[in-house]
Symmetry: C2
Subunit: 219 residues, 2 copies
């Protein structure tokens, strides 16, 4: 089906949590911000509570600086009509107990979504929710071994910039989420729209999902 026959999603959501990776979120979001100039989009920033959420986790060895973003919704009251949900990764995903509410939310929200997006170690959260079972998926290369332990029934793809499987899009680490979102915009709105935003963003895209320069750094 060509892009011009699709009805691109207009209702987006993103999950944030303490210790999320800033670029996992704001790489794809900046593309959506530009896409939203016309036609209008909606975005929900979803967290456990409405208190600001920091990229800084506060645990030893983590970042000593961070930025705080303001959620618009909680896991309890997030809009039921979100079409595309984005799940960033980051050091915060390693807090298994602290992220259980996210995992529960993803399990509850997934059936109503048109598309699920994970960036970096965000795939560990979707894996724990069982959503990725039987699907091909990828993740951050430096954390690959750990992530795969979170989803033993997932068909993990080691060498990939991003992977699509059914309505699930998973990307490699951090910057890969940018390339994946451009590919999604191209798929949904047409290559011309994606190319225009990349030019305006002065971004050199990696348009080949199999081109993964970082697979060799796997850990």
């Amino acid at each position: 089906m060509s892009a011009q026959h699709k009805s691109p999603p207009t209702k987006y959501g993103i999950v944030v949590f303490p210790g999320f990776q800033a670029l996992d979120a704001f790489g794809p979001l900046d593309i959506l911000n530009m896409l939203s100039r016309s036609p209008a989009l909606e975005l929900s920033v979803i967290a456990e509570t409405l208190s600001p959420v920091s990229t800084k986790l506060g645990s030893p060895g983590g970042s000593t600086i961070g930025q705080s973003v303001v959620p618009t919704h909680t896991f309890e009251n997030s809009p039921a009509d979100i079409e595309v949900l984005i799940v960033p990764g980051g050091k915060g995903t390693r807090d298994i107990e602290g992220t259980q509410t996210i995992v529960d939310y993803l399990r509850k929200a997934y059936p109503a979504l048109k598309y699920l997006f994970t960036v970096c170690t965000g795939s560990s959260l979707a894996a724990r929710a069982g959503i990725l079972d039987g699907h091909e998926a990828t993740s951050n290369k430096g954390s690959f071994t750990w992530v795969t332990t979170q989803g033993p029934n997932v068909n993990w793809v080691h060498e990939a910039r991003w992977v699509t499987s059914g309505n699930i899009w998973t990307s490699s680490g951090i910057s890969a989420g940018i390339d994946m979102m451009y590919a999604f915009v191209a798929d949904q709105c047409g290559e011309d729209v994606a190319a225009r935003i990349a030019i305006d963003s002065e971004y050199v895209r990696n348009t080949d999902p199999k081109n993964d320069p970082f697979a060799k750094y796997s850990g």
Copy 2:
């Protein structure tokens, strides 16, 4: 002077304002977040007030979605010992009256800085403050003509991914700020440190400040 003989800055600040471009800020910040794991850094997020600041401007033709970040300081009480100040661009820079307080702040803060960084149309704010007079500088290519009108005494460089002039680093549009920050980290902390963060971020750097694939799209 080799990087190992330098004393890399530890005190950073970033200015935010309504309609700032998310990736202008969070591209470079994500690198600093990772750099800050060791040794520790400090970061001030500086705005007119302490109220959350949205990337969404709300003017016709602009983005219809946005994300809000929480400032830590105001222009009035920002730390006097900030060493590196980052100024993002975005549609908000076009509001000349609304951004006058930023211009005034930059003029006041610049003499105490070790380095000034501007990304994208953030250079228009530094230009209006007179800081760029007599310096070489660059900016967003799609907005280049407009930006140059904001600094008639600046030596604007059209074809450049980023430009360094004295202690002032200015980048091209949006994504270029990422390449510039990697170059800054390489300059200050060593190429090995920059390369390690880029691998961890799975980011393919443009390491040549003169390699500007977007100069041809100038507007």
